[in-house]
Amino acid sequence: MRTLILLLSFFAATATAGESRIFLKDRPGKNQVVAQCAMCHSLDYITLHATILDRAGWEKTVGKMINIMGAPINNADKQIIIDYLAQNYGK
């Protein structure tokens, strides 16, 4: 819990004014995407790949974030995030 509070306060301290204006599509799964992805990076990383990654590409990318970049995302959230990205930001 303490770690979570630290992480949340860190996110608040580092999110820029500009990135707070990035809006992802309001569809099921958005909450998980914002909570997990924006911990480490701004959400323009998602929008800039919208014309580039298909479902397989998003699966690979989310897998990389978990397995290589160390994102602590559980399997249930992982699937929700992949579905959201593939459906809303897939090529």
Binding site: G18, I22, I68, G70
Partner: protein, 401 residues
């Protein structure tokens, strides 16, 4: 040692920079599809408005009209980070540690010691992101969709890495030198951005630990208080906020060497980094020969009555630029451009050529550079999975009326 930085400041871009953005979007190299649409101007603290690719970690490129100057001003220099925790380093607390399993005597240096105890040298060198122009590959490949502005030319002052390594002593088993900076990921589990160099490159007399850029301390966003400068090699090795240099006896096997920043061996010249090569892939190392027209945009209409000065820059990995040629008829005839002042083989070279058209109409403008080694630019970029080394000849159509 460090505070987390609050980079909240935001302001509207200057008119000049907006002009630059229009130039980028309409240049002959601009990406045709949506990847560029989200691009906006944004101002990091201490910088002028630059082209924002991502906010956090910050990735910002320079509008190419600013490349008209031989040296890119510090407040316009591009910004590129892999991890989002970027500390405000205090000089009083900063230390550079020389260690590793192949060091003879581990060493710890303050900035004052670094400046005082080693000979200072200055070198002009192009800092070029390995993925510059990635956004122009068709089809697109994943990664930051850079235009042509993830580069800048600067005069770097610092000390030779080889002198610092000699101060610690290099063991007989030394194979590579690994380099790490003060920035890190949000989670402890995120790999730090750590790179390595082959020992020979670490000992090259041009490889520097720099603390000044264009006569001023390094800007925060460009690696304050000290960063690596590896002239002729892509900027992935130019570690910012340098804190650790390790002399090691085995190939460094972190993600950023083993998996990222790699290119297929069969499509590019030798990488000069045998300890990191596999049968099929090698790390990207040397910059390939390239050029850029900096003052014309695709679709631009100009008065036919006046001569048109076509200007740009050209560069390579350290052989130096032998010639730049310009075509105004889509590559049928080529004319030799005039090279401007030579600031050394690792600097980019400015060039210009005056086009005196005989009649109105559409003209297909191209520029190509050749290095002193005889290497030239391909007409199409060489495809590779991560979109590195985009050095295709630029093509711009202008209208004379």
């Amino acid at each position: 040692m460090v505070d987390r930085r609050h980079f909240i400041k935001k302001s509207a871009g200057s008119l000049a920079a907006l002009g630059g953005l229009a130039l980028l979007q309409r240049s002959g190299l601009a990406a045709a599809t949506g990847a560029e649409e989200s691009t906006i101007l944004d101002t990091l603290p201490g910088k002028e408005a630059l082209i924002k690719k991502t906010y956090r970690p910050p990735n910002y490129e320079t509008p190419i009209n600013y490349f008209d100057a031989p040296f890119t001003p510090n407040n316009l220099f591009f910004v590129r980070y892999h991890n989002a925790v970027i500390p405000d380093v205090k000089i009083s607390e900063w230390r550079l540690r020389i260690g590793g399993d192949a060091v003879l005597t581990p060493l710890e240096l303050s900035l004052e010691q670094l400046r005082r105890d080693f000979k200072q040298v200055e070198i002009a060198a192009l800092c070029l992101c390995a993925g510059n122009r990635r956004g122009l590959f068709q089809p697109h490949v994943p990664g930051i969709q850079w235009g042509s502005g993830a580069m800048g030319n600067a005069l770097w002052r610092g000390v030779r890495l080889k002198d610092v390594l000699a101060g610690a002593g290099i063991g007989k088993s030394a194979l590579e030198v690994s380099l790490a900076g003060a920035d890190s990921g949000v989670h402890k589990t995120t790999p730090d951005f750590v790179k390595s160099l082959p020992l020979a490159k670490a000992l090259d007399e041009n490889t520097l630990i720099a603390f000044e850029m264009n006569g001023e301390p390094l800007p925060h966003w460009n690696g304050f208080p000290a960063r690596l400068i590896i002239p002729g090699w892509t900027a992935t090795y130019w570690i910012k906020h340098l804190t650790a240099v390790n002399i090691i006896s085995k190939p460094f096997d972190g993600y950023w060497m083993k998996t990222a920043y790699r290119i297929p061996k069969d499509r590019f010249p030798s990488g000069q980094f045998s300890s990191q090569e596999t049968e099929t892939a090698m790390p990207i190392t040397e910059i390939v020969v390239n050029s850029l027209i900096t003052n014309l945009v695709d679709g631009q209409t100009l008065p036919n009555a006046k001569p048109i000065e076509i200007k740009g820059v050209a560069w390579d990995g350290g052989n130096g630029i032998a010639r730049v040629e310009v075509s105004t008829d889509g590559g049928i005839n080529w004319h030799q451009a005039t090279l401007k002042q030579d600031y050394g083989r690792f600097s980019w070279r400015q060039w210009h050529w005056v086009f005196e058209s005989k009649r109105p109409g559409a003209y297909r403008i191209m520029a190509r550079a050749t290095s002193h080694s005889g290497a030239g630019q391909p007409l199409e970029p060489i495809p590779n999975p991560s979109g590195y080394h985009h050095n295709a000849v630029q093509k711009i159509t202008i209208q004379l009326a």
